[in-house]
C-alpha cells in the first residue's frame, strides 16, 4: 500500500498488513497510526460508491458494476488520521490518485535514490531486520527503502547463486529468480519489479569484478604458497626409493585402456585383501584397511572365512565382500566388510539400500564395515546405513603405508603398478614424478606423502 506523510509530504510504500500499526516517518519522524477503516470511493463512470480497504491505497481496482478502472488514492497519514472520502478518477486523468481533501502538493515517491539517510535498514537476517513487530519502523518500508544489505544475506545469496545453476549472466539470473519469486508469492507486477530492483542491487554487490590489483595480490600469495609446497615436495622426493610407485610410469590397467574400469579395480582389491592369495602379502592390506576403518591399530590375528568380488545377492552384486574375525585371547570378534566402488558411474536405484537390507539379514551379529569407494570421496545417496566414504587416493595411501614391508613378496611389483595406475588413471596424477621444481600441483604429492609418512611412523 502507498501512503503519504502529512508532515513532509513524502510517499512511502508499506506492507499490506500495515493498517492498525504505528508508522514513524523516516524523513520527518512524525508518527501516526495507519487507519483500518475503509475508503469511500466514487466511480467517475457510473457514480457507484465503493468501499475500498486501506491496503489498496495507491493501487488500481476495477469497478464491479461498470468495470471501469479506478485509481485508489494514496492514503495520507499524519497527526490526524481520518477517513478519506474521495471521488476517484480514471487512470488516464493526470490528477488521478490525488486526494481532494488536503495536501494538494504531493512530493515525489520515495525511491532508492532519495531514501532516508538516518537509518540503514537491512534485508534478511541482519540486525536491522525488524519484520513482524507491531510498530512500523522505517525498516519495514520495504522494498523501496533498502539502503544496505546485511552480510548474512549476501552469503546466503552466494550459496543460492552457486548451488542453483540458474543462468550465466546477471540479467538472465535476475529474470529467472524474479519469475520464480513471482510464481511463488503470486505478487503483483509492481512487487515483482521492486524485487528485481532489489535483487539487481544485491547481485551487483555480490558479483564484484576483480580488479588487476586483486589478481596481482592473489598471484603473489599463490606463488609463495606454491614455492613452499614445491620445497616440501623436494624434501620428500629426495627420500623416495627408486622403485616407489610415484617414480613409476606403468599403470597396470592403463596399458590395456582399462584404467578406470570398475570391475578390474574391485577384482584386484578382493585379490589383495584375500590373505590366501599368491601375492604373498598375507593379511597386511586387510589389516591396514580395517585399522583405517575402525580408527585403531588392529594387532589381533585375523582369520578370513571368505573373500569375493562381484558377489551376487538377491537383487544386485556387491563389489567386494570379506568375512572373518579377529582372534583374541578370550573371544572372537566377528566382522563383515562390504565395499561398493564407483568410478565413472552413479549408484543404481536404491542400490546401497538393497545391500543394507541384505547385510541386515546376513550379518548374524557381526560388526559390519561398509565402504563407499569413489574418486572424489562422495557420500552414498541411496544407503540407509552409514557407508564410510573412501577415495581411491586414500586407498592408495593405506596400501602405500605397508608397501615397504612387502618388497620381498611375489606380488610387490604388481602392487607398484597397481598403485601407480590408481594415481595416474583415477586420481589423474602426472607420473612418473621427476622434477618437483616444475610441478604445477605439488599440493597433492605433499599431502599424500605426509599422510604416508605419518602412518608409517605410527605403525613403526
Amino acid at each position: 500500500m502507498l501512503i503519504q506523510c502529512n508532515g513532509c509530504n513524502k510517499k512511502w510504500r508499506l506492507p499490506d498488513d500495515a493498517p492498525g500499526k504505528s508508522f514513524a516517518c523516516p524523513e520527518c519522524a512524525q508518527s501516526s497510526v495507519i487507519p483500518t477503516n475503509v475508503f469511500l470511493v466514487q466511480c467517475e463512470s457510473c457514480n457507484s460508491k465503493l468501499s475500498i480497504k486501506p491496503r489498496r491505497a495507491g493501487q488500481k481496482v476495477k469497478c464491479p458494476k461498470c468495470h471501469n478502472g479506478i485509481q485508489v488514492p494514496i492514503l495520507t497519514v499524519g497527526e490526524i488520521t481520518a477517513q478519506v472520502s474521495v471521488t476517484a478518477k480514471s487512470p488516464s486523468d493526470s490528477n488521478a490518485g490525488q486526494p481532494t481533501t488536503r495536501n494538494e502538493k504531493i512530493g515525489e515517491e520515495s525511491t532508492l535514490a532519495n531514501s532516508p539517510k538516518t537509518e540503514s535498514p537491512t534485508i534478511g537476517h541482519g540486525e536491522g531486520s525488524n519484520v513482524g513487530g507491531n510498530i512500523l519502523a522505517a525498516t519495514e518500508v520495504t522494498p523501496v527503502v533498502v539502503p544496505s544489505i546485511s552480510p548474512q544475506f549476501l552469503e546466503d545469496l552466494k550459496v543460492i547463486c552457486r548451488t542453483v545453476p540458474v543462468a550465466p549472466t546477471a540479467d538472465l539470473c535476475i529474470q529467472k529468480l524474479s519469475t520464480h519469486f513471482d510464481r511463488m508469492r503470486e505478487e503483483t507486477g509492481a512487487r515483482q519489479r521492486d524485487f528485481r530492483i532489489d535483487l539487481r542491487r544485491v547481485f551487483n554487490e555480490v558479483a564484484l569484478v576483480p580488479e588487476d590489483q586483486h589478481l596481482r595480490t592473489l598471484a603473489m600469495h599463490f606463488e609463495a604458497w606454491r614455492t613452499k609446497a614445491r620445497t616440501q615436495m623436494g624434501t620428500y622426493f629426495a627420500e623416495l626409493p627408486a622403485d616407489d610407485p610415484l617414480c613409476c610410469s606403468i599403470s597396470l590397467f592403463g596399458i590395456m585402456k582399462h584404467g578406470r574400469l570398475e570391475t578390474a579395480h574391485t577384482q584386484v582389491l578382493a585379490w589383495l585383501l584375500d590373505p590366501k592369495m599368491e601375492h604373498g602379502f598375507g593379511d597386511g592390506f586387510l589389516r591396514a584397511l580395517l585399522s583405517h576403518l575402525s580408527g585403531e591399530t588392529i594387532v589381533d590375528p585375523i582369520h578370513v572365512e571368505k573373500t569375493h568380488s562381484e558377489y551376487v545377492i538377491d537383487d544386485g552384486r556387491l563389489d567386494v565382500i570379506v568375512q572373518g574375525d579377529f582372534r583374541r585371547a578370550s573371544d572372537k570378534q566377528r566382522w563383515l566388510l562390504l565395499i561398493e566402488a564407483k568410478i565413472d558411474a552413479n549408484e543404481g536405484e536404491q542400490q546401497l539400500r538393497t545391500y543394507d537390507k541384505w547385510a541386515g539379514k546376513h550379518a548374524n551379529g557381526r560388526d559390519v564395515y561398509r565402504v563407499f569407494l569413489t574418486p572424489d570421496g562422495r557420500s552414498s545417496e541411496t544407503a540407509i546405513e552409514t557407508w564410510t566414504p573412501l577415495t581411491f587416493l586414500q586407498l592408495a595411501c593405506i596400501f602405500r603405508t605397508v608397501l615397504k614391508q612387502q618388497q620381498e613378496r611375489p606380488g610387490y611389483h604388481f602392487l607398484r603398478f597397481y598403485i601407480c595406475g590408481v594415481l595416474k588413471d583415477i586420481c589423474k596424477w602426472s607420473l612418473p614424478l621427476t622434477n618437483p621444481e616444475t610441478c604445477d600441483d605439488p599440493y597433492n604429492f605433499v599431502e599424500y606423502l605426509k599422510t604416508v609418512s605419518a602412518s608409517q611412523e605410527k605403525n613403526s
Binding site: 586483486h214 604458497w225 604445477d440
Partner: protein
C-alpha cells in the same frame, strides 16, 4: 579482440590453488587472511560468470552448425559443471525424446585443465566411438585418451592459455573460432552414417 576475462585466465593459471580454496573451500594456513579469501571468492565468482557467457556462445555455434547438417535441440547448459550440449539427430529421422538422445554435441571446460573440449557423443559407448572415429576422421580423440565418458569423442582440445602467456589477457573470439572450426568438420553425410548405426545401439 574480446577478452575472455582476466579472472578466467587467472583461474587456470592458479587452478590447483583455486580448486582448493574456491571449489573445495579448504582451509590452509598458508592462505588464511580473510581479505585474501574474499578476493578468491570474487575471482572465482567472476570466473564462473565469464565461463557461463563463453559457454552460451559455444551453444550458439553448435546450434547454428547442426541446424545446417542435421537437426538439433536448443543448447542446454550446466554452468555449475561448465558444460553445454545439444541433442542432435539426422534430418532423415524424427526428433527423439530428450531422455532418449542418440547423439549429442557439446563443449566441456574441465575445472582442472586449461582447455576447451569440443565433443560429440553417440549412444553405444565404444561401438559408437569406433563408428565416429571411422566417419569423422582420425583427428578425433577417443574418450579414454581425453578423460571423457565412454561414447564421447573429442573433436578438438583447445588450450585456453596460449604458450608463453604472462598476463591474464586471452582472446575469446579466437577460442570461439577454434570451437567453430572443430564442429565444422562434421558434415551431413558422415553424421547420417553415424546416426544410422548408433540408432540401433544401446548403452
Amino acid at each position: 579482440m574480446t577478452p575472455l576475462g582476466k579472472s578466467v585466465a587467472f583461474y587456470f593459471k592458479y587452478q590447483p590453488e583455486m580448486l582448493r580454496l574456491y571449489w573445495k573451500s579448504q582451509k590452509h594456513e598458508e592462505v588464511s587472511d580473510p581479505e585474501i579469501l574474499r578476493m578468491v571468492e570474487i575471482v572465482g565468482d567472476h570466473c564462473c560468470q565469464k565461463i557461463g557467457e563463453f559457454l552460451t556462445e559455444c551453444g550458439k555455434i553448435i546450434e547454428t552448425h547442426f541446424a545446417e547438417v542435421a537437426k538439433c535441440s536448443a543448447p542446454s547448459a550446466n554452468y555449475k559443471k561448465w558444460v553445454v550440449s545439444c541433442g542432435v539427430w539426422s534430418k532423415q529421422f524424427g526428433k527423439p525424446l530428450k531422455q532418449n538422445w542418440k547423439m549429442q554435441a557439446g563443449v566441456d571446460i574441465p575445472r582442472t585443465k586449461a582447455e576447451i573440449i569440443a565433443w560429440i557423443w553417440g549412444v553405444g559407448k565404444t561401438a559408437a566411438e569406433e563408428k565416429m572415429t571411422q566417419e569423422f576422421g582420425s583427428s578425433v580423440i577417443r574418450s579414454t585418451d581425453v578423460d571423457l565418458p565412454a561414447g564421447r569423442v573429442a573433436l578438438a582440445r583447445i588450450p585456453i592459455l596460449p604458450q608463453g602467456t604472462d598476463g591474464f589477457d586471452v582472446d575469446r573470439d579466437q577460442l570461439l573460432e577454434q570451437v567453430r572450426v572443430a564442429f565444422s568438420m562434421i558434415k551431413q553425410k558422415e553424421l547420417d552414417n553415424v546416426y544410422h548405426v548408433v540408432k540401433q545401439l544401446r548403452d
